[in-house]
Amino acid sequence: MHLVYPAVLAALLFSIGVYGVLARRNTVLVLMSVELMLNAVNLNLVAFDAWLRDALHAGQALTLFTITVAAAEIGLGLAIVLLVFRTRGTADIDRLTALGDPSEDAEDAEADTVLKGQAVA
């Protein structure tokens, strides 16, 4: 098998994950997109392990480690999200601006992002 196929698939999957992380508003969906990015890395690790024929199987061992770390990450992340939801009553990332600049409120930020989006588009 050509190495290009899994490498390109992993790159595209990583980009989809980047889009999800940046564009989603619900925190749980952002965590889902992070899982997609981690899976792209897993695919790269497995493909390069098969390509290099590593005697130590470092790629597959690292893939198992990544899967475990991803499981721990989503457990902790969901615990934090639930805590935030219980404290503030929302799971929207855009509304969690308690640590932001106090001079700009949510409407200003929203209008700012819309303007930026129009400028880019």
């Binding site: 196929y5 889009y19 899982e35 997609l36 695919l43 130590l56 899967i67 475990t68």
Partner: protein, 218 residues
């Protein structure tokens, strides 16, 4: 070490294998990869939050098939067990516990969607160009059963024992941390809320409402 790695790698010279005559494994890989990409795109763009989690199942299951095609059997089954078994269930739990709307929610994407799309397209273009340019002639020589459970277990418990144990400690720490974070409150009895009568006092007998009781602490 790098030279030995490169020497043990696949052939670096331009191979005679053409992209125009794909093998059967490549065809299956491409088809499953298209399914994975499509379901991932739906998972990050759909307006229905629960459907996003279910499309994530399709994407991760397709990735398990890709692992199988790359002869990493053990990793594929671990992927099925952990991702499809626990991570997606955790995500669904999270969606339900944060009272995600079941139907279609119009504000699922934030306002900077187009910036995100531009960043993602730029990342995809850069990465794909780089990867295609670097690995255009590389060939994976599949076969040999390098990813069977026996081989993975041998390498894991012969060469990777210390990271493995450190990882179990990490999992334990994450578990304890999640429990500590999601515990509701300490064990003290709840303070009386203003506007609510104390329990044990009959309502009709006491003319003093509970809101006038002195607050214990502010």
């Amino acid at each position: 070490m790098i030279t030995s790695l490169l020497a043990s790698a696949g052939p670096l010279t331009p191979a005679a294998r053409s992209f125009l005559s794909p093998t059967g494994v490549e065809i299956v890989f491409l088809l499953v990869g298209i399914a994975v990409l499509g379901s991932a795109v739906i998972a990050v763009t759909t307006k229905q939050l629960v459907h996003a989690a279910l499309w994530l199942v399709v994407a991760l299951g397709g990735l398990a098939v890709e692992f199988l095609l790359l002869t990493a059997e053990f990793v594929a089954w671990v992927q099925v067990l952990i991702y499809l078994g626990s991570v997606v269930v955790l995500v669904l739990f999270g969606l339900m516990l944060t009272k995600a709307p079941i139907g279609r929610s119009p504000d699922a994407d934030s306002g900077n969607r187009w910036v995100a799309l531009a960043v993602a397209l730029a990342a995809a273009g850069t990465l794909v160009t780089l990867v295609v340019d670097a690995f255009r002639t590389s060939w994976i020589d599949l076969g040999g059963g390098g990813g069977s459970a026996a081989m993975t277990g041998q390498s894991l418990f012969r060469h990777w024992v210390l990271p493995f144990e450190a990882l179990s400690v990490l999992l334990l720490a994450a578990l304890v941390g999640a429990i500590v974070l999601s515990r509701t409150k300490d064990e003290r009895p709840p303070k009386p809320r203003p506007g609510k009568l104390r329990t044990g006092k009959p309502v009709g007998l006491s003319s003093v409402p509970a809101s006038t009781t002195p607050p214990q602490e502010s």
